[in-house]
Amino acid sequence: MPTSDLIAEPVAIEACDCLTPLGDAAATCAALLAGRSALQPQPVQGAGGGDLVPLALCSPMAETVPPRWLPFVRQLAARLPDAGWGRPGRPVFVTSSNFGVGSLHAFVRDGDASHLPYGVPHRAVEFLTRELGWGPEVFVLSHACVSAHLGVLLATRHLHAGLADRALVFSFDFLSPFVTGGFHSLKILNAGFPAPYAVRETGSIGLGDGTAFAVLARTGGRARIAAQAVYNEMFHFTSNRPDGTGFADCIRPLVPLLAGRRPWIKGHGTGTLEAGRLEAAAFAQLLPGAPLVSWKGALGHTLGSCGLVELALALAARDAGRIPGTIGSTAPVFSPAVALASFAAADHDTALLASNAFGGAHAALLLDHG
């Protein structure tokens, strides 16, 4: 296969939805348009206490048996079309950053071995597979906060290679002291609330629960992913190349496909200062004039599920006729393109949806919604 900088095979979205603390995709989108935030000050280690940090939770951050994420993924999965998922020709691509790792933290803290079956990725997914009645054709992808994008990408390749006629991408990431404690130790999860792309003294992120799915097929559907691209800087674990070229190297292959289009951009936009500045600059350079938004100021960063949660929200925004603005942020911002208020979906026909991750990983897709 010749080398390409992008996946240019279009793929149809037959169904897509998400669940956040604000509800399903339609309800969450409506809340964002109303300027609501799900972030609340919460002890960083849950019942273990600690500093108050902004978290958006579907339920209290307690490690339970079975894990607290189960009812929410069940609730979302009830909206899936019945298609023999996990059987030959109908693969499932499960993506997460943390899977059930919070259960290991509970075991270490309490010594209760009933937490252990959910603690490592493939065991958590095997549990999920049994609970949801899927067959064994289940891929497990774990690339931190670009995991969901990789699930979409690999599902696309399976469809176009004739290995699947429909594919399900399913993402979930629910917070636990394991992950909130980790981000707090890195000092980017702190007492401040996130203000993506805002010029401030100190950067802050919020974290949130999220789960989402997309049913993909070669043709048909309610919308179309036109192309996808990824790029991995491998410069530093937790920072990007200072010149910002990693952001540009990811989206540059997609730019020619936007000639004559009217795009808007959903950036990664967690609220960290340096990454936000570099991301906004890259978009301003390569796609001047395209409005840029982030929704993590309201939902927090839903980690390995963010790419799919935000895809579902972009589709819901298209259906609602308005694209939510960057909640939590106020001027001054890093780029004039940063949209603080909502805007009309009809003024645009394409969305560029981007996510980033540890290791300088970048991922982006083009969503046709005209």
């Binding site: 252990l116 490592v120 990725p121 891929f139």
Partner: protein, 218 residues
């Protein structure tokens, strides 16, 4: 037909070696300021990738069921004052990132897979599907301590890596998606390591009417 040819196979088997023993044995292959922070799996993955000069245009497919077991164990032990270094090191694809960040080697395509009994097949299929002329298939596991005792980590530490390209000349094996059926055959990363070491052919179902075939060449 979708096919690639296997070249430059690299295997590392540290068995029940401790991380300190592995670090001492392999430290000359890595920058001094990086090696002290690398995990055992990072060292092993780095050592097999050491012989494979990567390019930015390459695709990297990474397969590991348990990934950074020791960093995970140590990070959990660091509570209630969690360690930032161990948090970032404990993420799944950290072993490959340790190796490539030490070389500041960017790659466009990087697909880290977890999974259990079907991970070998899934990694091989993924390597056939990525849009790169050269794919690096890399994988491995790290022997755990208390997680291993609870069957939540690998018994052994090992790593493997190879190139998969369109070039048949000098190839060790051929990997292809072919027409036909195959019986289901579970194979995890340890089984894939053994097949690569012993040059055992592999056949897996890939989709209705399609099978994945790894054949070793004379």
């Amino acid at each position: 037909m979708v096919e690639r040819y296997l070249h430059a196979l690299q295997l590392a088997d540290a068995g029940e070696e401790t991380p300190e023993q592995t670090r001492e044995r392999l430290k000359a292959q890595f920058p001094r300021n990086a090696v002290r922070r690398m995990t055992q799996l990072g060292l092993l993955v780095g050592s097999v990738l050491h012989e494979l000069p990567l390019a930015e245009s390459d695709a990297v497919v990474y397969a590991s069921t348990y990934a950074e077991t020791r960093a995970l164990e140590d990070y959990l032990a660091s509570f209630p004052t969690p360690s930032p270094a161990l948090f970032q090191t404990s993420i799944h694809p950290s072993a490959v990132e340790q190796a490539l960040i030490a070389r500041t080697q960017p790659v466009r395509w990087f697909v880290p897979l977890s999974g259990g009994a079907r991970l070998a097949r899934q990694a091989l299929v993924t390597a056939l599907l990525l849009p790169a002329a050269r794919v690096v298939l890399v994988g491995g596991e790290e022997r755990g301590t208390w997680l291993r005792e609870r069957n939540l980590a690998s018994e052994r530490s090992f790593a493997f890596a190879c190139f998969l390209t369109a070039e048949p000349a000098g190839a060790l094996a051929r990997l292809a998606l072919e027409t036909g059926e195959a019986p289901d055959a579970p194979a995890d990363t340890a089984a894939l390591q053994a097949a690569l070491r012993d040059r055992t052919p592999l056949t897996f179902p890939a989709a209705p009417g399609r099978r994945l075939q790894l054949d070793w060449l004379p």
